[in-house]
C-alpha cells in the first residue's frame, strides 16, 4: 500500500462524494443530472445574454434592450425565436456534411464540461477522480468544431478566422493549465468536488496570481473581449461562423455563452470556493458566484480596449506564460515547505502571495513586456 502523500496547506479531506442514492441507481442519477445540466446551461445562457446586453448598456451610458417583457427580460427569448425562424443558408461550394456537423461538434464539449462541476456537495453528474484533467481534455475538442466550421464554409475569411481562433486557443491553453496546476498542488486532488472541499479559505486568496492568469487566459480561450478577435468586421468579417445562419448560427452563439458560463463555473469551483458559503443553500451560492464572475467578464469587456492579433499572441507567450511558470514554482515551494494551517500563518501566506502578485505584474509590465513591442506574424 502506497503512503498517501499529504503535504499541503490544507489537509486533504477524504470524503467520498457519493452521489445521492436515487431509486434505480446509476441510470436515474445520470438522467436526472443530464436534464439538470441542460436546463441549467440554457437558463444561465439566457441570464448571461440579458446581463451582457443590459449591463453593457448601462456601462456604456445607454439603456440596452428594454422593450420586450418587463425590464427587457424576454429579449433573449425574442432573440432565440428570431434566429430560429431565419433561413438556413449553406454556401454552394461548402462541404455540406462537415458544415452541418461543425456546430454539433463545437456544442457537445461545451455541454460536457458541466458533467464534473459540483453544484453542491456530491451533486454532480460524475465525480471523476481526474475531474480537472477531464475539463482540460474536453475543452480542447471544441477547437475541432471551429476548424470544421472554418474549413467547410469554403470561405477564406472563415478559414483565416478559424486559424486565428485556434492559434489563440492553443497559445492560451498553456498559462491556463499551469494556473490550474497551482490549485491542484494546494488542494492535493484533481477531483473538482475535493478541490471545493479543500477550500476552507477560497483559493483566490492563496493563488491570486493564478486566479488572474486563469481569468485572462480563460477569457482569451472563449474569445471574449478584450481578446475577441473573431468579431473583426474589417479584417475577417465574423471569423469562422461568417457563413452560418439560422439555427446553426444560434448553436455557435449558444456555444459562446455556454463556454463563458463554463469558464465562470470553473473559476468559481477552483478559486472562489465553489458551492461553499454561509447561510444560503450551496447551489444558490454556486449560481451567485458564477453570475458574479460572468458580470466581471462583461465589466472587463466594456472597460478594456481590444488588442491586435500579434499583441494577443505576444501577451500569451511573453507575459502570461512566464508568470504562470513562476507561479507554479512558487506554489510548489510553498506546498513543499508545508506551511502551518493555523490562522496567523494563513494570513501571512495571503499577504505574501498578494505581494508576489503585485511585484511580478509590475516587474513584467514595466520592464519585460509591453503591448506593441515587436511583432509576431501569425
Amino acid at each position: 500500500m502506497m503512503p498517501v502523500l499529504n503535504f499541503g496547506i490544507h489537509h486533504q479531506v477524504f470524503i467520498p462524494a457519493v452521489p445521492p442514492d436515487w431509486p434505480g441507481g446509476f441510470w436515474w442519477h445520470w438522467l436526472f443530472f443530464t436534464v439538470v445540466i441542460i436546463a441549467f446551461v440554457l437558463t444561465m445562457v439566457m441570464g448571461a445574454i440579458y446581463i451582457e446586453r443590459r449591463g453593457m448598456g448601462r456601462m456604456q451610458s445607454r439603456l440596452g434592450p428594454n422593450r420586450t417583457g418587463p425590464f427587457g427580460l424576454l429579449q433573449p427569448v425574442a432573440d432565440a425565436i428570431k434566429v430560429l425562424l431565419k433561413e438556413n443558408i449553406v454556401p454552394v461550394k461548402a462541404d455540406k456534411l462537415v458544415h452541418w456537423l461543425a456546430p454539433v461538434v463545437a456544442f457537445a464539449p461545451a455541454l460536457m464540461l458541466f458533467a464534473v462541476i459540483p453544484f453542491q456537495d456530491g451533486a454532480l453528474l460524475a465525480d471523476l477522480n481526474i475531474g480537472i484533467l477531464y475539463i482540460v481534455a474536453i475543452s480542447s475538442v471544441s477547437t475541432v468544431g471551429i476548424f470544421m466550421a472554418g474549413w467547410a464554409s469554403s470561405n477564406k475569411y472563415s478559414l483565416l478566422g478559424a486559424m486565428r481562433n485556434v492559434a489563440a486557443i492553443v497559445s492560451y491553453e498553456m498559462p491556463l493549465v499551469l494556473a490550474i496546476v497551482g490549485v491542484v498542488l494546494i488542494a492535493g486532488s484533481l477531483s473538482l468536488n475535493r478541490i471545493v472541499i479543500a477550500q476552507d479559505i477560497p483559493f483566490i486568496l492563496l493563488q491570486p496570481l493564478g486566479f488572474f492568469l486563469f481569468f485572462a487566459a480563460g477569457c482569451a480561450e472563449i474569445n471574449r473581449s478584450p481578446f475577441d478577435l473573431m468579431e473583426a468586421d474589417s479584417e475577417i468579417v465574423a471569423g469562422f461562423h461568417t457563413e452560418y445562419s439560422g439555427m446553426k448560427f444560434a448553436m455557435f452563439y449558444l456555444v459562446e455563452y455556454a463556454e463563458a458560463i463554463a469558464i465562470a463555473a470553473i473559476i468559481t469551483t477552483l478559486f472562489l470556493g465553489g458551492w461553499r458559503g454561509p447561510l444560503l443553500p450551496p447551489w444558490l451560492w454556486f449560481v451567485t458566484k458564477v453570475m458574479a464572475v460572468f458580470f466581471t467578464m462583461v465589466w472587463t469587456r466594456t472597460t478594456l480596449p481590444r488588442i491586435r492579433i500579434d499583441q494577443l499572441m505576444a501577451l500569451a507567450w511573453k507575459f502570461l506564460l512566464p508568470l504562470a511558470v513562476i507561479n507554479l514554482i512558487i506554489t510548489a515551494i510553498q506546498v513543499l515547505a508545508s506551511w502551518p494551517d493555523t490562522l496567523p500563518w494563513t494570513l501571512v501566506m495571503i499577504i505574501v502571495n498578494f505581494t508576489i502578485l503585485a511585484v511580478l505584474v509590475l516587474l513584467w509590465s514595466k520592464f519585460f513586456f509591453r503591448l506593441g513591442w515587436g511583432r509576431i506574424e501569425v
Partner: protein, 162 residues
C-alpha cells in the same frame, strides 16, 4: 456486459474510422476520421479503467496532434482539390501490410498476463508514485522532458527567420 458493449462499439468505430482515414479522397475528412479514431481509442482506455490515460489521450491526440495535422492541411497548397496524388500508393501498401503482419504475429505470440484483481482506484496516485516516486521511472521521464525541450528549441531555430 456494459463493458463488452462499450468495447465492441469502440473497436468497430475505430476500425471504420481508420479505414476512412485511408480511403477517403478528401484529405480534410480523412483528418476528421483520424480524430474520431483517436477519440474511440480513449473509449477503449475507459473500458480498461484507465481514466487518466483516456483524458491524456484526448488532450494530446485530439487537442494537440490533430490540430497540428489540420493546420498543416490548411497550409498546404491546392489541397482544396482533395487528395494529392503521387506514385507511392503501392510501396505504402506493402509497408503497411508488412507492419500489420509483424503486429499480428507479435500480438498472437505474446503470452499476455491476465489477472483477476480489481483495477486500482484512484489511478492517479499510483501513476504519480510509479513515475516520480522512489524506484519509479523518474529518469526516463526527465530524459523525455529534456528531449522534447531540445526538439522544441531545434524547431524554433530551424523555423526562425534570419
Amino acid at each position: 456486459m456494459g463493458l463488452a458493449i462499450g468495447f465492441w462499439i469502440s473497436a468497430s468505430v475505430i476500425i471504420a474510422a481508420a479505414l476512412g482515414v485511408v480511403l477517403l479522397r478528401n484529405i480534410f475528412r480523412a483528418a476528421l476520421s483520424l480524430i474520431l479514431c483517436f477519440l474511440m481509442v480513449a473509449g477503449i482506455y475507459i473500458t480498461l479503467s484507465a481514466d487518466f490515460l483516456a483524458a491524456v489521450q484526448i488532450l494530446v491526440y485530439v487537442g494537440a496532434i490533430s490540430v497540428l495535422i489540420i493546420l498543416a492541411i490548411m497550409m498546404t497548397r491546392e489541397v482544396q482539390r482533395g487528395n494529392l496524388s503521387n506514385k507511392l500508393q503501392l510501396p505504402a501498401f506493402i509497408v503497411a501490410l508488412l507492419f500489420l503482419g509483424v503486429l499480428v504475429l507479435t500480438v498472437t505470440n505474446t503470452p499476455w498476463p491476465i489477472t483477476d484483481t480489481a483495477p486500482v482506484v484512484p489511478t492517479t496516485t499510483t501513476i504519480a508514485s510509479r513515475l516520480f516516486g522512489e524506484g519509479g521511472f523518474i529518469l526516463p521521464v526527465e530524459i523525455a522532458a529534456a528531449l522534447l525541450l531540445s526538439a522544441i528549441l531545434g524547431a524554433i531555430v530551424l523555423a526562425r527567420e534570419k
